[in-house]
Symmetry: none
Subunit: 457 residues, 2 copies
């Protein structure tokens, strides 16, 4: 089967592919706002019809929230599942948009043509790159190179309440050899990327209590231990002078980066000065012996997300408070076990409480890190296919945040996921004037055609 003819067809049929995307973008499928409930149904119907036009057995599957779209098509190669989401973010503040969010259009910009409109990048434009690749392949060869399951969600922007139950109830149907997820971006808008590491998350929310009432600092200042002072000391002790987390055993299950990945990341020439400068900072704060990309992608962290205690209103109150509180989060990597880290933290905290002090925890669930096993040859095949399409070779990258769907495929179905996407840092997803570069759409479609061909072998 010829890949070249598929790529040529993609190039020739780009105007029609764009028309289809604009049609989908005109449906205001805002999942978080009940006023747009019917529009979410409409978007799902549109996708079902579009998949059916490719001879995919597709149907809308209702949930307690917005429907899923699931479609299957047979093929000779491995069984691939493709995930994307058809719901979009709200559009407020509307007055900051330069055009109507649901009247999408192609615009010329100094950086080339863009598709402007809500959902163009997150995630309708990305989702359609895969569908259009399949359409071109089918038109050229009459069949698809793999067995494919299409799985489109309509609640990604509102917390995915129906996702886990649906995956559990339909586990057999959704289990595949590999999952492809198109909801991420190019690295620094230029380098094609496969996200293979996602950090986990552990939260701790707690209050320490010292004196059993608020005290007057005139009467008790000096002699009474202040819970804020105790909390400050405990939190300040969590990092050493090099930026490393001090909890005993914290780094036990943190793997060193494989040399090949380290070399790949160094080749990315990450501009951390710009990354920090864009938000008003200068120097990296993490472990000093780690590169900035490691700090974001492959190293665990500890951060205080909130702290409060004593008098915080206007003016002054010379109070020694009874209590002080904090919310902490740990980003986890490798095999770090949330329960083990939680125990290490609580042991440290409780060992540093003065006599007579107590602590109350408001427990939060922890999630371990996800790391895809890139030994599966599919990863290297996809990376090569991406490298063939784009000017720079593709890289395996990390992601500092969590993308829960990737973890669910592994946890619920035992399926590894490849996160591949073509968004750019300036796409303004979740903000006014969202756009998707025409180049992202066009080369995205071509990328999937190449990946499908590579995976089929």
């Amino acid at each position: 089967m010829s890949l070249d003819s598929v790529l040529a067809r993609i190039d020739n049929n780009l105007p029609e592919a764009l028309d289809r995307l604009l049609e989908l973008l005109r449906i205001p499928s805002i999942s978080t706002d009940p006023a747009f409930k019917d529009d979410c149904q409409t978007a799902a119907d549109w996708l079902v019809a579009d998949l059916q036009s490719l001879d995919v057995k597709a149907e809308k599957r209702q949930t307690p929230g917005h429907p899923m779209v699931v479609g299957h098509v047979d093929g000779d190669g491995p069984h691939i599942l493709f995930y994307g989401h058809y719901d979009v973010q709200p559009v407020d503040p509307l007055d900051l948009w330069d055009s109507a969010p649901f009247e999408p259009a192609i615009e010329d910009t100094p950086n080339g043509k863009v598709i402007r409109g809500r959902g163009s990048s997150d995630d309708k434009g990305q989702l359609m790159t895969f569908v259009e690749a399949c359409r071109a392949w089918k038109a050229e060869h009459g069949t698809l190179p793999c067995r494919i399951t299409f799985f489109f969600e309509g609640e990604e922007e509102s917390g995915s309440p129906s996702l886990v139950p649906f995956m559990q109830e339909n586990a057999a149907e959704l289990t595949s050899d590999i999952a492809l997820i198109c909801d991420t971006g190019l690295f620094e808008s230029a380098v094609p990327a496969i996200t293979t590491m996602l950090r986990g998350l552990l939260g701790e929310d707690f209050t320490i209590t010292g004196p059993d009432r608020d005290l007057h600092s005139g009467m008790y200042g000096g002699i009474a231990m202040n819970p804020i002072r105790v909390l400050n000391k405990i939190l300040a002790g969590l990092h050493d002078d090099t930026g490393a987390v001090t909890l005993p055993g914290f780094y036990d299950d943190v793997p060193e980066l494989p040399d090949e990945i380290r070399a790949q990341w160094q080749g990315l020439n990450f501009n951390h000065g710009k990354y920090l400068g864009d938000v008003g900072l200068s120097n990296p704060a993490g472990e000093q012996d780690r590169t900035p990309l490691e700090q974001i992608w492959s190293r665990p962290t500890c951060d205080v997300n909130g702290i409060w205690g004593g008098y915080t209103g206007d003016g002054f109150k010379t109070v020694l408070p009874s209590q002080a509180s904090a919310k902490l989060s740990f980003r986890l990597v490798g095999q770090q076990d949330p329960d083990k880290i939680r125990n290490a933290f609580r042991t440290y905290l409780e060992n540093n409480l003065p006599e007579g002090f107590s602590v109350e925890y408001r427990t939060e669930k922890g999630a371990p890190a996800s790391q895809m096993s890139i030994e599966d040859p599919a990863f290297e095949k996809a990376r090569q296919a991406l490298s063939d399409e784009w000017p720079r070779p593709a890289a395996y990258v990390g992601c500092g945040g969590s993308i829960p769907i990737a973890g669910y495929f592994k946890e619920l179905l035992g399926v590894d996921a490849m996160l591949i996407g073509f968004g750019r840092d300036d796409d303004q997803i979740h903000s006014p004037n969202e756009k998707y570069d025409l180049e992202s759409f066009h080369k995205g479609i071509r990328s999937w055609a190449r990946i499908l061909e590579a995976l089929s072998k």
Copy 2:
């Protein structure tokens, strides 16, 4: 003139005196919160009317903040000025009160009857002990034994911003032979005391800013310096492991206690175990090489009175905040200069800010410590009068809190001040469920009658 008949009248008229106090306590004159501005005016009006009922030439005198109440009455003896404050502390946390803070009532407790309500002890109840003593004297003798100036402030709990300008502008009117201040307590709830040492106070209220917006800890956790972490480290560094304050030069102007005062204090047999145990604490937190009474009365301190930053609501938000804030206070002793300590703190803070961070101060005024010269015979006369009223002889003591007014009388008017009060350690001033013992109120009124008589001779 008979003292006995005055004391008898005080005993007989106690119910009416209590009714008047409850009326005053019902006015929520919280000075630090602008929402209660009108209530401060109401409290001042109430006091003016009450003084006028004693034939005192009293009036409300406006300031840029809350008004002063000033009244004069002629008499034969020395010219005495009496100072008290009619404003009160905020009442939060309201849910920890067992009754409404501004619906005062007399309660039976295992330790006797108490007057429950915000301001009952600090300072409306104390202020009224003096007014009621004058009322009884006037009713009994038709005149007062001394020439008296009444001077009531409405901003004591919010830093007294108008006090110094008012005293400067009205210096001639307010200058007297001695000032009496009723805003302190009995020593250990039992020994009548004249406070001759008062710690000063320096407040710092500030916000540090790192990144110019709130960041997502998934994208920036590890690489971006978290302002809460910076703040924790700065605050944790203010004390060393022995409890001493680490600011360079902090102890330069702190005198050692004279041997005779040290001996007197040791004779008081201060029960620090009970003092701390009463509020749920066990070990003293101050400098380990100082006695507990020194820690409260004659040693300087540093305490965080409030801290806040990041997300403090329900649940979790993985934010790296842009800012973190704190309110600090230093209790000062001896010749410690508030400006010098402020500079030392700010230098320390700014030296510990990472590159690109900034700090904004919401400046608070500082007040140095005060020490009275007890050589004036009025001190010994008052001490004897107090010893006559109470079961144990009165003592000269220190006070951990600041009563800046005492320093101002000396500094601005050249007048020594005697601090005599009847509060008890468990009055919970500045806390929920503030109370004033009925015995404090009753014997407080009787004490002032005795002191007025003693000073008139």
